[in-house]
């Protein structure tokens, strides 16, 4: 059994090495768990929407609850203009949630504990939101960098600060998800290691901590998926409804 708490984050190849035009496209355990998460989402929603009963069974009820939850989140934060982006935010929320939750299973790999994956998602959202903003408002979109009611002397300074604040969005979005997942899983592993090294006499205390931490981690897994989705909605709201 691996005693290094960081070993769980190792990415290793599964199957043959695939190289296309000098880019390593081999199938890794990260890709495997992304496929598992996506497959679980598809299976769950397929089973949930297969029979459209008037009195829903459990799986249909859960999928309808998830749908309502995301729909309400979007209409609360970004308004009715954001309706066309529902599929994107729904898939984003489900993917992050399932990646986090699948990572909670023993021996599973947590995809979202790697900054490259969360950063790519955040940069994609950032670029998409910027393009949407320019498409909706043209060059008037640049006015989000110029808050109203600022004295002319301070305007260049405030604009630079606003631009840095805007550029820091994908960084804070991705670092938050990545750091939460990585810290939580490292902590679980460290406490698990204590149980083994303290043995049957002293191992009960860290074991009880481990149980409590697992509960907390499941909460964090849900909360971070929610925060990721809701911040996407907020950024979308800034792009759609220009009111500075």
């Amino acid at each position: 059994m691996a005693s290094n708490p960081m070993q769980q984050f190792n990415v290793h190849k599964i199957g043959p090495e695939i190289k296309i035009a000098g880019v390593d496209l081999s199938f890794t355990n990260a890709s495997l768990f992304m496929v598992i998460s996506a497959g679980l989402i598809i299976l769950f929603l397929f089973l949930g929407t297969k029979e459209k009963k008037i009195v829903p069974d459990k799986i249909q009820l859960i999928s309808e609850m998830v749908y309502n939850f995301v729909a309400k989140m979007i209409s609360d934060t970004a308004g009715s203009k954001a309706k066309p982006y529902f599929p994107f935010i729904f898939s984003l929320f489900m993917f992050v949630l399932l990646c986090n939750m699948v990572g909670m299973l023993p021996y599973a790999f947590t995809v979202t504990s790697h900054i490259i994956i969360t950063l790519i998602m955040a940069i994609f959202i950032f670029i998409a939101v910027t393009i949407i903003g320019f498409m909706k408002h043209g060059f008037k979109y640049l006015s989000i960098f110029v808050p109203s009611g600022v004295p002319t002397v301070l305007l260049p300074l405030i604009t630079v600060i606003e631009i840095i604040s805007y550029l820091s969005r994908p960084v804070s979005l991705s670092v938050r998800l990545f750091a939460n997942m990585m810290a939580g899983h490292t902590m679980l592993k460290v406490f698990g290691g204590f149980v083994v090294s303290l043995g049957i006499l002293g191992g009960w205390l860290p074991l009880s901590f481990s149980v409590a931490l697992t509960g907390l981690e499941i909460l964090v897994a849900f909360l971070q998926a929610y925060v990721f989705a809701i911040l996407t909605c907020i950024y979308l709201n800034d792009a759609l409804n220009l009111h500075h």
């Binding site: 600060i161 409590a212 907390l216």
Partner: protein, 94 residues
């Protein structure tokens, strides 16, 4: 067999039970931790982005230490702006 008044009282009792345990203690603590972490990353991310911009501009213009210092402080200001905005948003949510 079932009279509507009986059902109504049962529903009311069930509803009052649901309302009581919305958030347990550990769940509350978890969400507080999430809030604190959220504000922390907002602050640090902006400082990091500001410093990186300063570093890149420095190597473009060859003004080695100056722009990185200026942009570090601008980044810190942007981080505080982020934190204030995030805190305002949280207050609106509650």
């Amino acid at each position: 067999m079932t009279n509507p008044d009986d059902f109504k009282t049962r529903l009311r009792i069930a509803k009052s039970k649901v309302k009581k345990d919305v958030l347990s203690e550990s769940e509350k603590r978890g969400s507080f931790m999430g809030t604190a972490f959220k504000l922390g990353t907002e602050l640090v991310a902006a400082v990091g982005v500001g410093t990186i911009i300063g570093f890149i501009l420095d190597s473009w213009f060859g003004t080695k230490p100056w722009l990185i210092i200026i942009f570090f402080f601008l980044g810190a200001a942007a981080g505080m702006l982020n934190v204030i905005r995030a805190a305002n948003r949280m207050q609106k949510e509650d």
